[in-house]
Amino acid sequence: MQKNAAAWIGLINQLFEIEQRVRPKKEVIDATRQFDRIRIHLEELGFKYHSPVNEHYQETRTDCEASVVGDYVDGKMIISRVIKPIIYRVEENKTVLLQRAIVVVESCKDE
């Protein structure tokens, strides 16, 4: 599995990108079930991915690589766009970060 980790990461990134593209077109193509199922199979294989979109951003978040757009206001930043997701390798009792998310971060509009 270790040997193929890069291929798995590549595969998950592509899947995530397809998911991003299809989601807004839910009225036309609803593939939510298929994506959910792929997620479950990936978890069976020990991989978990997560999109931190709309989550708060702090400098302590080492699971994201952020590009800051606009002003940086401590404690009031939010992840506005996710270019690549966070990928974890999940073993029985251990979680290891395989890929940091590539995100765009900006200050909360309502605050």
């Binding site: 978040r61 080492t62 606009g70 290891v96």
Partner: protein, 835 residues
């Protein structure tokens, strides 16, 4: 001899650390960043210091408190005022912080006291001494300096085990943001930097910008009128435009990497239109377009090389090797341009990103330390010094929150810092000032065991040998209020091969409520809209090893043809979602993908669910099984058990008769009553039978194994089939102990299949099987004429010694033998429809 072993590339843009051990250099990775490189950037926040990637993120946004490129200022009297700290900080102090951060990359706990640090060829004595000072302040007692171009040459020479012949080498170093070129002269195995030149503002980041501006933007503008605004200067200051540019820069960097190995690439981006919707566009970029956009910059770098050579009265022909350093030298156009414009061939076998640190590592591996102290890389023994604080921790071990508070108290005042990191690498507080009482909220990964490490550092941010226990917080999984399941919860699925149903565990006994799981299965049979078959989703509670019919039905969805919008084809997907609430309410939802129909029901555990079709089938299977077992026990003269089973058989037949009598007119109460009677008799039979069956099955298991072992005397057969055999018998001790007849039966079946394969692979066995089949009275075959034809064909195959043909004849003859009665009964198996 004690050697230094540790090497650091303290770069302008990125820094790296490596260690020499057993003849090899290992470049350490960032403990929470997965990369070899640490950006040489330091950020000061209100209550913490960040070094590396997190600091770089803030570089453009908070330039006053974030510092990069300070290496260029080493050895100057310049200092940087940090508004957030209200004090000035020197380039030496900033470099010290980068070096200290690099020390945290050493994962094996070594605490090197000596180190080799690389410096640019351009560094004078004052700048070199400033680097040494930074090293000392970072806690290294001994700092040996090495010029970067020499380090790169050493990496190259070591990779190819080249002897260093006299001559000139050229080191071309094009990084993320800086460019340097140096001539190295080798004389009598000694390397010396003859001259160098550079530009501090030329590198890969410029290339990304050029690709966006000159290649991507013109294409984007052409695709839609709305995108013309991207060329408007006032719009380019807006947040919306900056967001798009970040995305484009990221995509450009990826495209740049791809164009290093292919001639053409494409970029997919979704860009905002004026009405707020996004338009997907596909941008094609060729390597030629990319090359054209960076040509001027690359040619400029080469003009600097040419100037350097000329000023040293050298011609390209005088250069023996060109060593490439820096990530941007991966670009084929850079390599081709050097070859084309200078007429020197370049060697591309050393990783240009790590060349300098690898060279520093090799040098450190041969450089003797002047320290007399114990080994430079010794692991410190953790001894609790009376001057150091003892740390006690307090936190909740389980939590359902997204973040939890870790509190630590130190038993005495401590002047320094602390840092908390999460094991997976997704959280790092950075250095925080320590007080006697520490409080820190930490984010938790949902549904996982989260491990955190708290470390203390002195005022110079060197680790302090204080033992702190690991913090382990489990999120979401266990709730104090949660009650455990008293029994296994299973789904009944078909065992098509065996023509019976079996149980698949959904939730194991003692799992904590509430629970939710989605299982994906395939339809095991075609269910026609105009037919009579039904799909039965049966959720049972009880022992997962018992017969399905002995367990209690707690949820049942029966989907008959009348509810279908189309035929359900065998093999199509089923999605079954099962939820059990804390109050034990069961929700089952079945999604049939082929018809896109969803069937949902909520079951209250106080009710009973019965399917008449299933009840019929279960009682038939039970009776068949009982009759079969009675025969078996009578054959083995175990009359006592046979009599007992006969008694249960009578009871089962009585249930069946009542069921048959009341076809179509069974009222609800009667249905539950019959179901309960069936379950009770099945349970009694299962219990009585299971022990006996288990011992018989275990006996059979070893018997078949013994058979197989005999085949393995033949070495060729053993080699061919041993791995399959080992896979089947793996964990034999465990599965034979489990009280599951189904499980052991499965294993016996697998072994029997393997034995059959062995028979068909062994010449002797093929022949003896053929003779056995040929001797059977031909009347016994279902098609006597065909059997005679095959027997004759077998005879001929034997004469020709064609054993492949004999194998086919054997199989054909076996197929002509009549089915046993039980098989016929099984033909009528309906099952649940879930495969």
């Amino acid at each position: 001899m004690n050697t230094i072993n540790f090497g650091i590339d303290l770069g302008t843009t990125n820094s790296l650390i490596a260690c020499f051990s057993n003849g090899k250099v290992e470049v350490f990775k960032h403990p929470v960043g997965l990369k070899d490189t640490l950006p040489s950037v330091v950020a000061f926040r209100a209550n913490r210091v960040l070094v590396g990637d997190k600091a770089r993120e803030l570089l453009e946004k908070d330039g006053q408190n974030v510092f990069a490129g300070f290496k260029r200022k080493m050895g100057t009297s310049e200092s940087f005022f940090v508004p957030v700290l209200q004090k000035s900080i020197s380039p030496i102090e900033l470099s010290k912080m980068v070096l200290q951060e690099l020390r945290t990359f050493i994962y094996d706990g070594s605490q090197p006291e000596s180190v080799v640090i690389t410096i640019p060829a351009s560094f004078d004595t004052i700048q070199s001494n400033a680097t040494k000072k930074a090293g000392h302040e970072a806690g290294f007692k001994e700092v040996v300096l090495l010029q970067e171009p020499i380090a790169a040459c050493l990496a190259f020479a070591n990779k190819h085990e080249l002897s260093l012949e006299n001559g000139n080498w050229l080191v071309y170093d094009l990084g993320g943001g800086t460019f340097d070129v140096a001539i190295i002269r080798i004389e009598n195995n000694e390397l010396k930097v003859v001259d160098h030149k550079g530009d501090n503002y030329l590198g890969g980041l410029d290339f990304d910008n050029l690709l966006v501006e000159r290649v991507l933007l013109p294409q984007i503008v052409d695709t839609h009128n709305d995108f013309h605004r991207f060329t408007d200067n006032s719009f380019r200051q807006s947040l919306e435009c900056q967001r798009v540019f970040q995305l484009l820069l990221f995509k450009a960097e990826e495209a740049k990497k791809e164009l290093s190995s292919s001639n053409q690439t494409e970029i997919d981006v979704a860009l905002p239109l004026l009405n707020g919707e996004e338009k997907d566009i596909l941008l094609a970029i060729s390597r030629d377009q990319f090359n054209a956009s960076i040509r001027a910059k690359v040619e400029y770098s080469i003009s600097l090389v040419r100037e350097l050579l000329e000023s040293n009265q050298l011609s390209p022909a005088d250069i023996k090797q060109v060593v490439l350093v820096g990530g941007s030298t991966y670009i084929p156009f850079v390599r081709e341009s050097i070859e084309r414009l200078l007429g020197i061939s370049v060697n591309t076998t050393v990783d240009p990103t790590t060349a300098v640190v690898v060279g520093a590592g090799y040098y450190a591996g041969t450089k003797r330390t002047m320290l007399t102290a114990p080994s430079t890389s010794s692991k410190p023994e953790i001894t609790l010094s009376p001057l150091l604080p003892a740390v006690s921790l307090s936190y909740l071990k389980t939590s359902t929150e997204e973040e939890e508070l870790i509190m630590a108290s130190l038993d005495r005042p401590f002047d320094g810092f602390y840092r908390i990191t999460r094991e997976d690498g997704g959280f790092d507080t950075g250095f925080l000032p320590a007080t006697q009482k520490l409080r820190q909220y930490v984010p938790l990964l949902s549904g996982r065991l989260n491990r955190f490490t708290l470390k203390l550092y002195d005022v110079n941010q060197n680790p302090v040998p204080v033992s702190t226990p690991a913090v382990e917080i489990t999120q979401g999984k266990f709730s104090v209020q949660g009650q455990p399941l008293p029994n296994d919860i299973c789904l009944e699925v078909d065992d098509v091969e065996q023509k019976r149903t079996k149980l698949e565990v959904i939730f194991s006994k003692n799992s904590i409520l509430p629970l939710e799981k989605t299982v994906y299965r395939e339809l095991s049979k075609t269910i026609r809209k105009d037919g009579t078959d039904r799909l039965i989703v049966n959720i049972l509670e009880g022992d997962k090893f018992a017969l399905p019919s002995t367990n209690q039905v707690i949820g049942l969805i029966e989907i008959g043809p009348e509810r279908l919008t189309q035929d359900l084809i065998k093999g199509s997907d089923l999605e079954i979602k099962i939820q059990i609430s804390e109050s034990r309410e069961i929700s089952v939802s079945v999604f049939v993908s082929i018809s896109e129909q969803e069937f949902k029901e909520v079951f209250n555990p106080s009710e009973r669910y019965v399917s008449l079709q299933k009840l019929h089938e279960e009682i038939d299977t039970l009776i068949l099984q009982m009759k079969h077992d009675v025969k078996d026990y009578e054959r083995t003269e175990d009359f006592e058990i046979a009599a007992k089973i006969n008694q249960y058989l009578e009871e089962a037949i009585a249930v069946k008769q009542e069921l048959d009598k009341s076809v179509g007119a069974v009222n609800a109460d009667e249905k539950y009553h019959l179901q309960e009677r069936k379950r009770r008799v099945a349970q009694k039979f299962d219990q009585l039978d299971r022990f006996k069956k288990l011992s018989l099955l275990r006996h059979e298991y070893f018997e078949v194994k013994q058979n197989i072992d005999q085949f393995f005397h033949d070495e060729t057969i053993r080699k061919k089939f041993e791995s399959e055999y080992l896979t089947i018998s793996k964990n034999e001790n465990t599965f034979l102990k489990v009280e599951s007849t189904l499980l052991i039966e499965g294993k016996v079946r697998e072994l029997r299949l393997l034995r059959n394969k062995l028979i068909f692979s062994s010449k002797d066995h093929l022949i003896s099987l053929y003779f056995n089949l040929a001797q059977i009275n031909q009347q016994a075959y279902t098609d006597k004429r065909m059997a005679a034809v095959f027997i004759e064909q077998g005879e001929k195959a034997l004469e020709r010694q064609n054993y492949d043909e004999l194998k086919v004849v054997n199989i054909a003859l076996l197929n002509l033998l009549p089915d046993d009665d039980a098989r016929k009964v099984k033909e009528n198996f309906m099952g649940t429809g879930i495969g």
